[in-house]
Symmetry: C2
Subunit: 215 residues, 2 copies
């Protein structure tokens, strides 16, 4: 059985923005800053990854653990790999340091030609291709495990529009960003394809979980 | 003490639309139809108002009861009183029949000159004025009770932007309308002025409750 494509722990503001305005290398979420993710950084799982003690162990922590469990590949858009102006610089190796947290192949969708990038445990493959073909390759690479849809906003929308997503998990943070990139744009009547339900989180956030109905 | 201005039981889709596209007299919510309000019509309170038996008695019902309790006046925009094309027709008396559910004075904000309309228990006063002045008059009419902000979307946004709202209660329905009028547009950083929290509802909906911080 081929792996499922899952979006998980994707944070949006109450007004639906998955990232802000004015993205740069230094501010990958633009004017949103860190405001979409304090709930994530408060979890035990996150703190352990960062070599810190403590952290919350409730619903948010469970969701975050699931984000890193059972995946054999990730697909991300250029907008997650590089948020600066212009093309990806030759020397750029992503936001995640010498040992990125993925530990799987990661397909980066970009029109830019770029050689594969092998870091400790993670290989980035740059592809100028369709969502369908990217998913086919990611599934092959995942060898039966699931495929994570990593973002950014435009990439998630494209995969939802192409009806390639099997499970989605979005986190609503009670802030209003007012501007940026809207996750739900162009997704009219998504509820016809997905069972959508709310699940209360810790730290004042709300989880939205969606499972694609079988045809 | 003057009455508080409260928005309550205002339903939006997951993508933030408080009403759809293509509003008419027959379809006041446009292509949204009744899809923003089944949770409301399922409550015991609503069913009792409609002369029906049964209905849910949980959180949603409590919120809906609060919507009708303790108010001495309502303010609504033209977009709630009349959703057809062009000006309000002379003979139009609103969507609520001979005995509207308000049972208080209702200020209708419109640039159109129109005589007061007295129906059974409810007097509609048509005013071409600012949010501030409308609220001042509504507070006087409410005689110490609270003032309900009745909608539609644009009117709610105007009052939020003018920082006149004391309490807000929005209901998120897990559907994606894709188009229409967005409630949260232009409300960047509302969380700086309001404590916003989620409260799980019945029937798969989510309540968002906001209380304005005291200056």
């Amino acid at each position: 059985m081929s792996g499922r494509l899952k979006l998980s722990n994707f944070a949006v503001s109450l007004d639906g923005f998955g990232t802000g305005e004015g993205l740069t290398e230094q501010e990958p979420f633009g004017h949103a800053g860190h405001r979409l993710h304090p709930w994530m950084m408060a979890t035990r799982f996150w703190r352990e990854m960062a070599g810190q003690e403590g952290g919350s162990t409730g619903v948010n922590n469970e969701f975050l653990k699931a984000h890193w469990d059972g995946f054999g590949a990730e697909i991300m858009g250029r907008g997650k790999f590089w948020t600066g102006a212009g093309p990806i610089p030759d020397e750029w190796q992503g936001f995640w340091g010498a040992e990125p947290p993925f530990h799987t192949p990661v397909i980066v969708l970009t029109h830019q030609q770029r050689d594969d990038l092998q870091l400790e445990g993670t290989r980035f493959l740059f592809r100028d291709t369709t969502p369908q073909e990217a998913l086919a390759e990611a599934r092959e690479l995942a060898a039966g495990l699931d495929v994570r849809l990593g973002g950014g906003v435009r990439t998630v929308r494209e995969f939802l529009e192409a009806d390639l997503v099997d499970e989605l998990h979005v986190v609503i943070v009670p802030i209003l960003l007012g501007r940026g990139q809207r996750l739900w744009d162009g997704q009219e009547a998504l509820e016809d394809r997905f069972d959508l339900r709310f699940e209360p989180g810790d730290d004042g956030i709300m989880h939205v979980v969606g499972t694609r109905r079988r045809a």
